[in-house]
């Protein structure tokens, strides 16, 4: 069974990322469940999407401490969901910082040294400049696909199937941009 948690800020494109993974595992012949977030929490809130694949999946939700991989589109979100990661799991996250409203209003402080905080856990962490790589690929909005590229190395699987999953889920007119973003992510480490 593979459990992948995709976390970020509403509007960052977790839906696309989860659908790429869902297609990948479906094409690998696995039973797949993907939970999505719609509605109010999409509006700039903390969002979490669960992708589960295996012989037979019951609950679409990943239990705490059982995620193999966390893909985080923003580093505070990586920290927020870190307890979902199992021992020896991997967290791949964008170094981007997006201040939540309590930080903007001064009611809270954005945590310092997130890398150091995550380093205390028995997990592997990969921090990448996803937004900068996406911009190099042509659009900062492709940061989600950059992260999927980085995740593809850790999650493994046939590279051809990854490409197919990408093609199946991004609009044709943005395919070249997204392929580039995926490659940048895959070669980022």
């Amino acid at each position: 069974m593979v459990n992948v948690l995709i976390v970020g800020v509403g509007g960052q494109g977790s839906l696309l990322a989860s659908r790429i993974l869902g297609t990948l595992y479906l094409n690998e012949g696995l039973d797949v469940k993907v939970s999505e977030v719609h509605g109010m929490s999409q509006r700039g809130g903390s969002v979490v999407t669960y992708v589960r694949a295996g012989e037979e999946i019951a609950s679409p939700i990943i239990p705490v401490g059982e995620a193999d991989v966390i893909i985080a589109f923003e580093q505070l979100e990586a920290l927020r969901w870190i307890h979902y990661l199992k021992k020896d799991g991997a967290v791949i996250y964008s170094k981007q910082e997006i201040a939540p409203m309590p930080v903007i209003t001064g009611a809270a402080k954005y945590p310092e040294d997130i890398y150091g905080k995550i380093a205390k856990y028995p997990v592997r962490q990969v921090a990448i400049e996803a937004d900068k790589l996406a911009l190099e690929a042509g659009n900062v909005k492709a940061a989600n696909v950059v992260l999927m590229g980085a995740a593809s190395k850790i999650l493994g699987g046939d590279e051809k199937l990854w490409q197919e999953a990408l093609v199946a889920n991004v609009p044709a007119k943005f395919l070249d941009l997204n392929k580039k973003a995926f490659e940048f992510g895959r070669n980022s480490d």
Binding site: E36, G44, P63, M101, P102, A107, P111
Partner: protein
């Protein structure tokens, strides 16, 4: 057969298509919205957005009496709005089959309460099915039509957020060729006046007995035997949590039909297991049924009536296993916010500045209650902003009306704000209503409505004229403002609050997320000028934050609305149009 990943809502839509459904009418509501959006993609099915759930259900019942297979979808609170026609449609029954999907929101991901819709099935004496994954969403939608026509009743399809919004594989089938039945006049079946309704009530009671008998042997009520020390009765997503938690170490009675409930089937299952648990999110409906029939179960004494369940919680309650540890990190919360460039922001800043009492409503603008704007005092249900403001003003001295407003979105106003406004005019409270017209149904993800000029299927439609509606209701003071112009908003607001008669202010600007909206270049802060006074933070824009004592704009999300520049007394914001 082709297999496809689908969210539950898309699978329900596929089920409607395959069942030969002719007519769909709904009002958007998370987590039900995507059913109607997906079904609209099938050319063979007519689908529309109605102004509210009551209209949608009435239209669906009309389509059924007219001979077609009909459908309406709504969220749990939408069912409250639609309850009136449904309770009597239970008496009239159907001609073409009727299926009503209702999506409950356990955990309130996007709702104002977490009511349990199963109560409605019992109260209206109509059957309810509950799928547990996308394949069942499709299959149960098709079965619901067969049941509807066989038992002459509308059938509820109950979903939960997790089933509606989770993708799993669905095997696709072909569309049934169902003809629209001929309409036949039948006064004793379709005219529910007392004498006729009394006769139909007899039919309803007999139908309930027939459905109860069906529940005893229905294939969708499944017994799955494993270890018999633990027996579990569950339905929908709660069944999936239980299966995840206990696998083969328990036996299950999975109820696909959650009303009416079987008795003998449950009694027989109970006799095969040592200890029987009822695992149902929200209320104790299965449990009460078991207890009524003298079947001993463990239920709400150990499980909550609130929020969502998890497999970890179930193992903790039943096996005594420790709960996994939570997050120890100090991570500030990230609540949802009004988007950069949101046209509601300027209005809420002015409302906060003037310290008004704000009677709020349901939509993105409910987020105006969050810091730093904090400019919403009440949120109840669709339309309550206007009617509630009237009540507040009537019990207070006339000065109160000079410090209070209602705020309501364009779609919500059409849904159920017009009647409240009529009440204000009819009973003469000097209330001030602000219609936040962002030209779309926003929070549910951009659905068309009668004021947008397009139908669900993308065809042009007449545009409902909000100003003309307000004037026709009898409001003589109707003003339109641009919510990006905060000075003008403040001026108009003060003027209308002072007026000793009802007034409506329409704050008009399309949602910044609409693809048709052209954005201006992002603004930048001139760090040499910025003194770190934080005035610009008072509008609560997620694109502005303080870094090393200076304001910084996140240019990747700024849409150049310029509200921050208007806040800044030192002219630090540069670029954009200015």
């Amino acid at each position: 057969m082709e297999k496809k990943m689908m969210i539950g809502n898309a699978a329900v839509a596929r089920g409607l298509y395959e069942a030969g459904c002719h007519f769909v009418s709904s009002y958007p509501g998370t987590p039900s919205t995507e059913i109607t959006e997906h079904v609209a993609k099938y050319e063979e099915v007519y689908a529309e957005w109605a102004p509210n759930e009551k209209v949608a259900v009435e239209a669906a019942i009309g389509a059924s009496i007219g001979g077609g297979r009909a459908f309406a979808a709504m969220k749990h609170v939408g069912l409250n709005v639609a309850a009136d026609p449904l309770f009597t449609a239970s008496y009239t029954g159907v001609n073409g089959g009727v299926v009503i999907a209702v999506a409950d929101d356990m955990g309130m991901h996007s709702s104002q309460n977490e009511q349990d819709s199963r109560h409605y099935a019992r109260a209206s004496k109509m059957p309810m099915l509950e799928p547990a994954d996308s394949q069942e969403c499709k299959d149960f939608a098709i079965l619901a039509y067969e049941m509807s026509e066989k038992y002459d009743t509308p059938v509820y399809l109950r979903l939960s957020t997790r089933v509606a919004h989770s993708q799993s594989t669905v095997t696709l089938g072909t569309r049934l060729d169902v003809a629209v039945k001929p309409y036949e006049k039948n006064i004793s079946k379709y005219v529910m006046m007392p004498a006729k309704a009394k006769a139909r009530h007899v039919v309803v009671e007999q139908r309930e007995l027939d459905l109860r008998a069906y529940a005893e042997t229905a294939e969708i009520n499944k017994v799955i035997m494993g270890d018999t020390k633990i027996g579990i009765i569950a339905s929908g997503i709660a069944f999936q949590y239980a299966r995840e938690a206990f696998g083969k170490n328990a036996s299950y009675l999975k109820l696909g039909m959650v009303y009416p409930l079987p008795v003998d089937l449950i009694r027989d299952f109970a006799s095969k297991v040592d200890k029987l648990y009822v695992i149902e999110e929200l209320d104790d409906i299965f449990e009460a049924h078991c207890l009524k029939h003298g079947i001993a179960v463990e239920g709400k004494a150990i499980f909550s009536k609130m929020g969502e369940y998890t497999p970890e919680m179930l193992r903790n309650k039943i096996l005594g296993e420790a709960l996994p540890e939570g997050n120890h990190e100090d991570a500030p919360v990230r609540p949802p916010v009004l988007c950069p460039g949101c046209p509601h922001r300027g209005i809420f800043y002015v409302l906060n500045k003037l310290k008004l009492v704000v009677s709020g409503d349901i939509g993105c603008y409910t987020l105006g209650a969050q810091p730093p704007l904090e400019a919403v005092d009440t949120t109840l249900c669709m339309g309550a902003s206007i009617s509630g403001l009237h009540g507040m003003n009537m019990v207070n001295d006339p000065e109160f009306a000079k410090k209070s407003v209602a705020v309501i979105g364009d779609s919500t106003f059409i849904h159920s704000g017009m009647t409240g406004l009529t009440n204000i005019v009819y009973n003469q409270s000097p209330s001030t209503v602000i219609i936040l017209d962002n030209s779309i149904t926003g929070m549910t993800g951009h659905q068309q409505n009668p004021a947008t000029g397009l139908t669900l299927k993308g065809r042009p439609a007449p545009i409902l004229d909000l100003e003309a509606v307000c004037r026709a209701i009898g409001v003589s003071r109707v003003t339109v403002v641009d919510p990006y112009d905060m000075k003008e908003c403040e001026r108009v607001l003060k003027e209308e609050l002072d007026a000793p008669e009802p007034s409506v202010i329409i704050a008009r600007r399309p949602c910044a997320l609409l693809k048709s909206v052209k954005h201006k270049p992002a603004l930048k802060v001139n760090a040499d000028k910025c003194v770190g006074c934080k005035m610009c933070l008072k509008i609560g824009c997620p694109a502005i934050s303080m870094v090393d004592g200076k304001a910084v704009v996140d240019t990747s999300i700024c849409v150049g609305c310029g509200l921050c520049a208007d806040m800044c007394k030192l002219g630090c914001f540069e670029g954009g149009e200015n």
